[in-house]
């Protein structure tokens, strides 16, 4: 793994040099991952896929020779991978609980900072066959509702929001992550599901997101931290700063996140 990184950097630098004809990239391809090059590895919650990919591009733009690699997945899976020694530089989780796994293990550098918040919306297929308008509609018999499993952050949030709305829902399935809930709604297999506002927005016109007041009771905080044994500690710090910067915030709020 470690041996492959310089080759990758050299290849990227060479490509950049070939494409742009820049003068200063020659140093990088020779140096093989020196000060100005390197690969930054970011572990981020699946719901950050769109925004972090965009931020990664911006980061690569302002750091010539640097390549940002993402590992998107369920926050708890990522947290476990990090505590088991996966070579991550930055960890962005979808819940403080999953971040706590990493900080408890002494694998985070400093105190994690909340950079975004996300709230749940009711997602329905665009033709809305179940005629869903408010949370209480979800308890109607015959309506196929899918929720996240309580073990994952979106499921825990769904429980809280539904309890706040005083609605007893009997879901037909408890999916493994929020994207799976979205897929079931998108394909019309489910009449409704609870997903994050950002997910509903990312699905474009294929699902309709219905906001509801009680979701304020279950707002998810997204913490970010540098990993203690980050192979690229300096770059990791800079990436965290970018996410927390006004530019980072603009990207996140543009996708439907709320500022902390």
């Amino acid at each position: 793994m470690l041996k492959r990184i310089p080759v990758g950097v050299a290849a990227v630098s060479l490509l950049a040099a070939a494409a742009a004809g820049c003068g200063d990239t020659g140093d990088d391809s020779g140096g093989g991952g020196g000060k100005s090059g390197g690969t930054l590895t970011v572990f981020a919650a699946a719901s950050l896929t769109e925004t972090f990919t965009a931020l990664g591009k911006a980061f690569e733009g302002s750091h010539p020779g640097v390549k940002v690699k993402f590992n998107f997945g369920g926050s708890s899976t990522l947290a476990q991978q990090i505590t088991q020694g996966a070579p991550a530089d930055v960890f962005a989780a979808a819940s403080p609980a999953t971040m706590k796994t990493v900080t408890d293990g002494g694998d985070a550098d400093g105190t994690p900072q909340v950079f975004a918040r996300n709230r749940l919306v009711i997602a329905v297929p665009k033709d809305d066959p179940g005629k869903v308008g408010k949370p209480s509609d979800l308890s109607r018999s015959g309506l196929k509702v899918v929720l996240c499993a309580v073990q994952v952050p979106c499921g825990a949030a769904a429980e809280k929001a539904l309890a706040a709305a005083k609605v007893a829902v009997k879901p037909v399935s408890r999916e493994q992550d929020v994207k799976a809930v979205l897929t079931k709604v998108r394909l019309g297999e489910a009449d409704a599901g609870l997903v994050y506002r950002t997910d509903a927005r990312a699905a474009g016109g294929q699902v309709k997101g219905i906001e509801f007041a009680e979701s304020a009771q279950a707002v998810n905080d997204y913490p970010i931290a540098r990993v203690a044994k980050a192979p690229q500690a300096a770059l990791a710090g800079e990436f965290v700063r970018l996410v927390l910067s006004p530019q980072g915030r603009a990207t996140l709020t543009g996708a439907g996140f709320e500022a902390p």
């Binding site: 899918v146 499993a149 073990q151 399935s173 408890r174 999916e175 493994q176 799976a180 394909l187 297999e189």
Partner: protein
Amino acid sequence: MRRRERDRWAGGGRPPWVLLVPALTGLAFLVLPLAGLLVRAPWSTLGTRLGEPQVLEALRLSMVSATLATGVCLLLGVPLAWMLARVPFPGARLVRALVTVPLVLPPVVGGVALLLVLGRRGLAGAWLDSAFGITLPFSTAGVVLAETFVAMPFLVISVEGALRAADSRYEEAAATLGATRWTTFRRVTLPLVAPGIAAGAILCWARALGEFGATITFAGNFPGRTQTMPLAVYLALETDPQAAIVLSLVLLAVSVVVLAALRDRWVSTS
């Protein structure tokens, strides 16, 4: 059994190192992860964790659905293998390749494909829903279908291989004696390839038991209805890795016992 193993030894003398070293490395590679599970298992709390009703429910559902899926695979897969091995038809090569598609397809993709065909708005599923009021996703029947889709190729390939290796002169003899093709199939072909069918069925059952991706995508995850052991393991891993290890051990123990018992009984006679 024991006698036969000794006979094999007597034939070859010392096994050559060139074969023995990779063989043992291969064995270690397959067995070590299992040992890892055993080492890390929370033995002290094992009893209480196993008593949880959710565990038993998931185990029961896994066994039932894997067995039903194997049944469906046998009903459809054996005739399919026979057709591929015995009936020459144009495009047989392509059909044979198509049959193995579920082997190479990531199971999650298989699950999405099943949704697109048999889902509530799927090509055939929409008709099932409007004509009979049957919806397959989120049901135990959906679990069986997903497992059947993923496991059937194992059966078809094993049985087709057995049919090709079998001596077709017996079938020809039966035909010359006036037996119809159906009688020949039932009385001659089936008994001839029975060990191959048994081996295929065992592979098929094992694959169905471990199925995760297609099941969670097509049938969803609901305790008692569609939550099989692999799904329970996956979700336990999210919050309680120790519980996930216990669940994995249960699944492993059950499958090893069943597979070992069946193998000795049927496969070794081939």
